[in-house]
Amino acid sequence: MDENIKLKMMLPKIPDIELVAIEGMDRMARHMGISEEKISEAHVLVTEAVINAFEHSGQKNPLVQVEFTMTQEKLTIFVRDFGKGFKPEDIEKPDINKKLGSSHKRGWGLKLMESMSDDFKVDSNEKGTKITIIKNLQ
């Protein structure tokens, strides 16, 4: 089957709004017969991408655009914010050995997205940040 389904949404910053994106993706996955294991891993990717976008947008009332494109073979997750952007090379890679004993224990989002995806791209400038994540589903 080469069916390709898409879902687009614009999320306002309200508590746990990332769960709305996950719900939508779950419905797509059930329709396509995707395994629970793959979808659970996609939950982590979507959650981290959305909370990262809100956290780093630097806007008072941010909106985050989320798009899913799903085939039986792969899921493409596109997450965009309209904030001030950042330089990915300036972000220190988190290390549990350094986090223990430190007051700053956060900052894991990019590492998780990179590690749990099959392809991961960040495109950021002063007009916002676009994150594209590919997750193979087979």
């Binding site: 659970s40 939950h43 982590v44 981290e48 549990i96 223990l100 894991w108 590492k111 749990m116």
Partner: protein, 119 residues
């Protein structure tokens, strides 16, 4: 998708078991840490966190669990995670938590590693 976070806790001798349900986000993580603190202040140093009913967690929620590991490390205590969904187990592995915390399939098997007899 269950969003509302809840927890229950129980003591098995000197082992604290925290059972969660719902989304472990920043609020959920903070509630786990507060529950832990209540018992840690009284000397509890062996902790089991049972995530059986939490199917979604985020890294901000997990950062509160790193705080728990930090406090237990300082007192020669130990944390064991149980009933992890495979994606959550993968997430914790990537973050390196199992270098400092244990994992077991069930609460009973975790209690056994603390030498607590069950059932």
């Amino acid at each position: 998708m269950e969003a509302d976070f809840r927890l229950t806790s129980e003591l098995h001798h000197d082992v604290l078991v925290i059972n969660t349900s719902g989304y472990v986000n920043n609020e959920g993580g903070e509630k786990i840490a507060q529950e832990f603190d209540k018992h840690f202040e009284k000397g509890v140093k062996k902790v089991i966190i049972n995530l059986e009913k939490s199917k979604v967690v985020n890294s901000i929620g997990i950062s509160f669990l790193i705080e728990i590991i930090d406090k237990l490390n300082e007192e020669d205590g130990k944390l064991i995670f149980t009933n992890l969904e495979s994606a959550i187990e993968k997430m914790l592995t990537i973050m390196g938590l199992f270098n400092y915390a244990g994992k077991e399939a069930t609460v009973d098997s975790a209690l056994k590693t603390f030498d607590i007899k069950t059932g």
